[in-house]
């Protein structure tokens, strides 16, 4: 099933876009798998996702750890730690 990827802040700048629609294969089970899969074909993604400790994620607008599953997810967002307020 297609997933809407969203990127924010320097992740967005590194990937070079704010969103993209992707359709990962069935063995891409977690957010981390999704990052690996996206990085495999794209140096820009690979660079933006290079330091996993600096990445945070949300699945369908809920914060999740990178090892969270993405079964049924419609929207996955990748971004740095938040700095609002």
């Amino acid at each position: 099933m297609a997933i809407e990827m969203l990127y924010f802040a320097w992740v967005r700048e590194g990937v070079g876009r704010g969103s993209e629609r992707v359709d990962p294969p069935a063995d891409v089970a977690t957010v981390a798998d999704l990052l690996d899969w996206l990085a495999a074909d794209s140096p820009a993604h690979a660079q933006a996702f290079g330091d996993r400790a600096k990445l945070r994620a949300a699945v369908d607008q809920a914060f999740v750890p990178l090892d969270a599953g993405i079964a049924g997810a419609r929207e996955v967002a990748i971004f740095p730690p938040v700095t609002g307020g």
Partner: protein, 145 residues
């Protein structure tokens, strides 16, 4: 009443406080975060995650209202570019007594810093940089969980 707003326009604190006062509480606490004038920053730019941001702020407001029995919670967060001295965020809480209002207000601004999807970029004369999250913010937010 819970009022959550994410907006590009400047924050009107007087109007926000007047709305809270109209609800008849005895105690109102508020917090205003501003772009500091002393950091060499010429522009602060706030990016957010439309939809999720409003939902996250509303969840924080509802949680505080239930925990402290508040009459009102107002959160207004600005996004887009802003200048030194301008308001970035405004939080107000209203309760019958001061303890609840003060604690809830402190909790909301602490948790908002780590639990709502905003990202700050600072523009200085040397260029621009994304602000890094502070470990102290996570500690502050953890006090309230």
């Amino acid at each position: 009443m819970i009022r959550v707003t994410v907006q590009r326009e400047p924050i009107d604190v007087a109007a926000a406080l007047a709305a809270v006062e109209a609800d008849g509480a005895g105690a109102i606490a508020s917090f205003t975060g501003l772009v500091r004038a002393d950091d060499g920053v010429s522009i602060l730019e706030l990016e957010h995650y439309p939809g999720m941001t409003e939902a996250a702020l509303t969840a924080l407001a509802e949680g505080a209202a239930a925990r402290w029995d508040l009459l009102d919670v107002t959160i207004v967060h600005r996004v887009g570019p802003m200048r030194p001295g301008e308001r970035v965020v405004f939080v107000a809480t209203a309760a019958r007594h001061r303890g609840a209002a003060l604690e809830a207000c402190a909790s909301l601004i602490d948790r908002l810093k780590t639990e709502a999807p905003f990202w700050k970029r600072e523009v200085t004369t040397e260029g621009s940089r994304w602000v890094e999250a502070r470990g102290g913010d996570e500690d502050a937010a953890a006090r309230w969980r």
